[in-house]
Symmetry: C2
Subunit: 343 residues, 2 copies
DNA sequence: AAACAGCACTCATCACTGGCGAGTGCTAAC
DNA sequence: GTTAGCACTCGCCAGTGATGAGTGCTGTTT
């Protein structure tokens, strides 16, 4: 895995990656020698570049163009070359003020955050609302609060509580509701919320669930209680992709937009990120998005007071300003975590 | 307003509009004469076309290309020329089955609808969830249902009910809640929900709202009760815009996406449509979207069992297949209304 | 007068061309 | 090991001319 490079090769590779990130155009030996004052002639640089190409770190689009970094090069770059920029005072200010300012509830804050990410990075900002569907079911309770209104209180093993108001077709007696609760509490112990939901749906479809009156009523209500809260996901700044020269061509674009249209893809992609702490980076095909698209993803997770975990990050071209975006994502995640634990 | 045209001119204009809708290319006199078997020579058609151009119904992109319809022509076309297609059996089937199939609550149905619209029309589908913020406030009630949980029940003059669960920082006595309710019921009579919300926010900011304990608590809670439910809006099929040849160029595209990014623009645009019944059509600049973009909008509203009004429709290029999209939008709106009143 | 054939004219599009310049790999010299 | 020099490749660009679709006008026919 570890790639062996002389210091000079590293320096040159870094120069190429950064140049390419900046200009989006193949960089030639001359440019490297000139811009980086390496006291090396272009010819020397050339021979080094030839080496790097052999190692699979560079490719040339055609004979007499410069070279462009491969995915492998980006990977190496972020792993061991990139010098992370500090988050500037101004950026910090923006992040914080945007977070605070957004008034309307969690959704509002997260949406605003997504927008801020997009603005600061100049790529696409993305935020996945925390949900505890991966948590383990601990306790559920149904409370009658009106003629046809039931309050469901769902508690997970991490202590997160989810209240849900359910309107029903007919009336339920309090004793019946208690029995329902007990039934579920007995049977669902140890499963994750997602599994619980799945199980309920299966039972609903089975014959037993169809003909047993009481059971059927129980299932119908509990399904609503456990239903995932729209797994909210906020994407902002889609238009910014169009700023990137490599996507100015329509076919390319279409691919990307289609990929994102099934947000399912994103959800799947992001749920992977939930597990690990800290900033995570997926480059090109590592994202397992429509391969050829040349997309990268920088994410970090954040937590809330109720211990649920959400995800935020930035999607951009592989040729992305890692040195500045990584710190921004990191800082934003911390801030959001802090903000959400205060409440 | 009424444009005077001889039958023949009308026929030729219709032919041109329909040809252009199909091919997206300037249509010349020859094509019209040939394709529509009008027993007219191209020369005659030419002179008619010259007339139409003078009337502002056609323009030529340059001397020796055919002509393309102006907005005015489209307007005239939909007003008095277009022959609406029937909704095919297959399309009906798709609309109905998609509506039914979508499981998860209102959001799910509407999202699926938006997707269906996009699929059938091959343009962008859009659905705005019904909200009763424009309704008039009639009654509000707070019910204590747990240590720190309050249920707010809000009723509008049309009989629509909105329940909302509120979690509070500290505990409230039932009597206090009753008093709070009375206070609001007295003061907010006759205002729309939107106005109520605005008033509450204003009072919160005023000195009185800051220092009067009871008032402050009342406002804080009622604000949450009245808060607009995220004015949900579902847009699907954005990628389909890229199928349209006129938008294959990146700059053009960007304009559009940026316009849509502030969904505010859409909301504003669509709230206009809410007032009138039946299918409404906005062509080009009539949409008051980024002018030059050549976008058209076909919408219709739908109603729910609780008398709230939503909006659905299709956004596409001005050069849109009106004859088939109009009926689809119309039919879908009817179906959704029916489906939502059943529940 | 309405319809039309004929004609000169305009102009986008396309394929082809040659010049240019950036960049390369190789080799021979320091 | 480093570098200057050189021949070579190839994308890009501007210019060229042929092609063809489409137009407006004019004079003739019915």
């Amino acid at each position: 895995m570890g790639i062996e490079l002389t210091p000079r090769s590293r320096q040159i590779l870094e120069a190429i990656v950064e140049d390419y990130i900046e200009t989006a155009e193949p960089v030639g030996s001359g440019a490297v020698a000139r811009r980086h004052a390496l006291t090396l002639s272009s010819a020397t640089v050339r021979s080094v570049m030839a080496n790097l190409e052999e190692m699979g770190l560079l490719t040339s689009p055609h004979t007499s163009a410069g070279r462009i970094p491969t995915e492998k090069a980006y990977r190496f770059y972020v792993d061991s070359l990139v010098a992370l920029r500090q988050v500037s005072r101004d950026e910090k200010r923006q992040i914080i003020s945007h977070c605070r300012h957004a008034g309307t509830g969690l959704s509002g804050i997260l949406k605003e955050t997504s927008r801020t990410l997009s603005q600061l990075s100049n790529y696409m900002g993305i935020v996945v609302a925390p949900s505890f569907t991966a948590d383990v079911f601990r306790h559920i309770e149904f409370i009658r609060i009106g003629q046809r209104k039931i309050l469901a209180v769902l508690v997970s093993n991490k202590g997160a509580v989810q209240n849900r108001l359910i309107e029903t077709g007919d009336d339920y007696a309090p004793e019946e509701l208690v029995r329902m609760g007990n039934y579920l509490n007995d049977r669902m112990q140890g499963l994750t919320i997602t599994q619980v939901r799945k199980l309920i749906l299966e039972e609903m479809a089975s014959e037993k669930g169809q003909y047993d009156q009481l059971l059927s009523r129980t299932l119908k209500i509990s399904e609503q209680a456990v239903r995932a809260e729209g797994d909210e996901i906020f994407v902002e700044g889609q238009a910014r992709i169009l700023d990137q020269p490599e996507f100015s061509d329509a076919a390319r674009m279409k691919e990307i937009y289609q990929a994102f249209e099934q947000k399912g893809v994103l959800v799947q992609l992001l749920s992977r990120c939930m597990s690990a702490e800290g900033v995570q980076i997926y480059i090109g095909s590592e994202t397992s998005l429509s391969q050829s698209a040349g997309i990268s993803l920088i994410t970090s997770r954040f937590v809330t007071s109720s211990n649920t975990v959400g995800m935020l990050g930035v999607i951009g071209p592989t040729r992305m300003g890692y040195s500045s975006v990584i710190p921004i994502v990191d800082y934003t995640a911390r801030m959001i975590s802090k903000l959400l634990s205060e409440v």
